[in-house]
Point group: D2
């Protein structure tokens, strides 16, 4: 029944061949990023939209009460649950790069995964994936040693977990080397360079602000595994999962539009683990 | 040699009857209470002495690096590992009572158990027990609702875990009701009232400062399940595990004396779970 | 215009006698309780309504960036600034009682006052008052030793500061003994017992939910220094400052209604220090 | 009387000319880096040796109780007190670089200075200097914008404060531009490159491990304002203050040797502010 709520257009299941594999995509969103009395985002509404929830684990955001509540909400909606470990930087929301060693990356990832998993299992669920947060995500996308440390922490905790990482990054490669399943993440509202990287946020055109353009990019990523770069080239980008945001009501509305458009285009929305 | 020192008189195993059950005792100690560069206690030496290690989980002390290091050390010495969850009060070392709800007690206990367990399992071990720390221990000894919340968190995480609690306390009762195995903890260096409670620390004679007297109490607790109270009465006290300290070099020396005296008196030292 | 709205009927200043003293009141509100990305309350709007702002100092809420921003906002609106020190309990928002010693109360109060004062002075302002937050406020209202410790910390930092405390409480008395000016705080939306205490929140009628009844209580407190108790008696309550809330848009709207009604009733709104 | 304990060989005062200006030096040490029950370093002994104490302010280490105790100890020994603000990274001891903005550097520096100053002033003292800690020190030595932000925070708090920074660094330059007095810090046990920088810790010969060599470097820095580089060149290095360590008993013994040798060589030990 969980599976149902994550897998749309069930009727197509039998006849889609290998090429239609790319016509399945996951929608993921960060959640549970409140802290104490501070609420953050609109988790409940978002859980009607996404297929994977990345739940904060107490280092950059989240606390035990918020984690438990968010886990239960996700379980009740049948959304796949992932740990969203971050740097120990509450006041910077885990977004400031910190010069950590691979050992520290391993330890902070494992600690947070373990803590969240306790909540998931105590409510009868199973953690499906891990997506590092903020600066930890970025650092592990670029630095092979940090990527390997994060991947090992995930693998050592549970080798069935799926590691979410930036498409084409060191993190995805490290996950594969470690023996993990991975999900390559692509971005709906970020522009890509001709060589498949994200345009740096320092550039004025880093973010796509026109909703229609972003929707087109979502469709092209999910449906064809391609993107039109800032330079106008069409290049391949593996897009197993698309990231949507839930920090404003407008973000949630846009996420719903993305979801509706994908479904209308016969793209199946499901979490990577639910296909197993 | 280490293994030897923790499972004595193996040959007796077959013929000891119910009365000899009381002639086995666990020695437990809090560990891993360093934080960042701050070291605390003499964990490595202590692990030669005790049979159970209660490892701090990051709320009152401990951090991921210290947890990992301490877990590995305990595994290498064959000492049983327990989680030592505390209140979220680093600057007060988890010793200040906080007015938490049963839900909060459940959540903070589960979070910390999960985090420590990830380190234990990632190094191939199995967590054996949980002993709440400081004010959480005291509060759960006295308050039935908090006791039940802690016991439920332990049970929900792993029903095979052994809950350590003050002998005769609400916490031990709650553990039993929840379906957990429990270990009743007694104190070598604390005086007891005639009705089996610890003399409050506010009284000048709360703590036994004479080492010989403390050693006699250790032997009587472990060997006969009895204690001589402050009023001079001999009363029964269930003593499955005795708490020793490791925060000073003198404490460690005394712990070693306790251990030697128990062994000389034919009392077997072993962790509660190792008998299974 | 803002200045206007905070110092009314200036012309009356010379001829108001003792009885008209009670016809001046302060409206205070907690602010700056965001943390990192988490915003909390509607500080900017509220600053148009109140005459005193109690700014969180980083222990129960607030961080250096939020403190600086809130201080500047309050300075720009001409609202009196106070430190709002709390217990070191971010995840519990400083609302959970903690068993702290008077020394600890002194130290955590002084630390937080000093930190906030640095922001106030660096922007050319002067801190006017201190109001302890949450459980620290409640504990210092009831416990003479904690009250004295808090009062001493305030006095030692700056003897001109005004200590805000619950009307009739140990905190106000301790402030007076320490040589501080004090402001007795009364509550618009809480019911009082016949002996002048707040009805405990455990009782169903602790909070006044009818806006009209609350407005009447505000007027009676500010205008006559009296309140109608839960038992129907009219008793005196010193009300130098009234607490309003800003955590929801409705709370802010109600605060504005309180302010408008007080002004319509010829009650002057001004912070306690501004009369000097 | 405070002055006495910081100023040796008073008799020389009248006849030393400009060239003897370099024959005065400050010895500074980090202190108060305990946290809760965790003690760190041997502050009390060290205070007999140094002329300036840099006291941790709660972000990388230290808590209100430790700050108060350390401030009082320093005051009782007549040692000049400085704030030692660090990055908000307790588990990393403020040693891990973090990608902070100049605004964040300003805010965290000002917050911590304000908090420490409250303790100093409440005990009748006056804060003399500020020395950023760990990664904040290093980052502000290299990055002009961060340096300026730190210097502005110090200046805005109290323009009489002396900013301690790495000799020849952006931090010292920023302090001078901001209108602050500065003290250039040199290192007794670190090797210098031919262009006056510290040899990176990544190189095997970064640290001088031979005590005699370190003592010679201390004397040469303090007495002549020169150092022999790793390449064998003699270069000028402004050395207003020398950093000694107190984290081990050996470090304290070495600090005492440094002090004795300097005094024997007719170098006056005094804090930069005490000469005023």
């Amino acid at each position: 029944m969980n599976a149902d709520s994550r897998a749309y257009q069930e009727g197509e299941d039998l006849d889609h061949g290998p090429e239609s594999m790319s016509r399945t995509v996951d929608l993921n969103c960060d959640m549970g990023e409140g802290f104490g009395l501070h609420t953050f985002g609109m988790d409940e509404t978002l859980l009607e939209v996404v297929t994977s929830a990345n739940i904060a684990c107490g280092f950059h955001a989240g606390d035990p009460a918020t984690m438990r509540k968010t886990v239960r909400l996700a379980l009740s909606k049948g959304v796949a649950i992932g740990a969203h470990p971050g740097l120990p930087d509450m006041s910077g929301f885990g977004r400031r790069h910190m010069e950590i060693t691979p050992d520290e990356a391993f330890e902070m990832t494992l600690y947070q995964i373990g803590a969240l998993d306790a909540f998931v299992r105590s409510d009868g669920g199973r953690m499906a994936h891990v997506k590092p947060h903020g600066a930890l995500y970025t650092m592990a996308s670029q630095d092979e040693d940090l990527a390997q440390a994060v991947a090992e922490a995930v693998y050592r905790h549970d080798s069935r977990l799926i590691l979410f990482g930036l498409s084409g990054s060191a993190l995805v490669r490290a996950g594969e080397r470690a023996g993990l399943r991975t999900a390559s993440e692509a971005f709906i509202d970020r522009r890509y360079t001709d060589d498949g990287r994200l345009v740096s946020r320092r550039h004025p055109d880093a973010v796509i602000t026109d909703p229609e353009e972003a929707l087109r990019q979502a469709l092209m990523l999910a449906g064809e595994g391609k993107v039109v770069t800032r330079g106008g080239k069409e290049i391949p980008v593996q897009a197993d999962t698309l990231c949507v945001h839930g920090d404003t009501i407008h973000a949630v509305e846009f996420a719903r539009m993305v979801r509706d458009r994908l479904i209308q285009s016969d793209i199946r929305l499901q979490s990577p683990g639910s296909a197993l």
